[in-house]
Symmetry: C2
Subunit: 128 residues, 2 copies
């Protein structure tokens, strides 16, 4: 982990770290799982049913990474068979709250981005 001097220009290190977080969030399932768990705690199979197309293996890997980062908690109730429940932690909920404006931005700019791309491609055919 790189140390950031307190008096350094913080724009670049912050951008670098943000990029790492975004790259993780940009994986195929992380944001969907965070959104689903923001609605409330879920057992593994409930969560799996609510995330269309995810495999058991991918969901396991996704919740394990989120649990490792302290964004999701995993609670085991010692019934037979044991029940395992996943929930967002306080940090996970706070991440969801800052993701939300970005989700709204995305929603609000999809048409704009599509239109921009069409105009760009019409004006400059692909070269490389």
């Amino acid at each position: 982990m790189t140390t950031i001097p307190a008096d350094a220009d913080t724009a670049l290190p912050r951008a670098v770290l943000l990029r790492e977080v975004l790259a993780r969030l940009g994986d195929k399932w992380t944001v969907i799982v965070i959104c689903r768990l923001n609605a409330g705690p879920r057992r593994f199979n409930e969560l799996k049913r609510s995330v269309e197309g995810i495999t058991q293996r991918m969901l396991s890997a996704t919740v394990r990474r989120l649990e490792r980062d302290g964004l999701v908690s995993r609670t085991v109730t010692p019934t037979v068979p044991p029940q395992v429940e996943y929930a967002l932690t306080d940090a996970g909920r706070s991440l969801h709250s800052v993701l939300y404006p970005l989700a709204e931005w995305t929603d609000g700019h999809l048409g704009y981005i599509e239109t921009s791309r069409a105009a760009y491609d019409a004006a400059s055919p692909p070269s490389d």
Copy 2:
């Protein structure tokens, strides 16, 4: 581009689209270039000098993608040689403004995430 029915549960499509945006933002240079241009318009070489480690080829590809999405404008002044200046568009500035809370979240949670990972790894040695 997938059509989203107006009456559908919007959480999943929004999450899917957000994921696409995040995956793009999570590439190696996009967020840094957006942060640099938020400070003001820059000529190509100025921009290149302000993004440590970027190659000419990577910067060209990054600004071209941002320009195609309508997030960066490219203005050519017909001097000899021509001057090319890049700037955030209104949409690019609005994206920066919703990225900023996520950047602050990241800044504020780096220690937390590191601590969580260390605790998780100590409790459960890697299995697969």
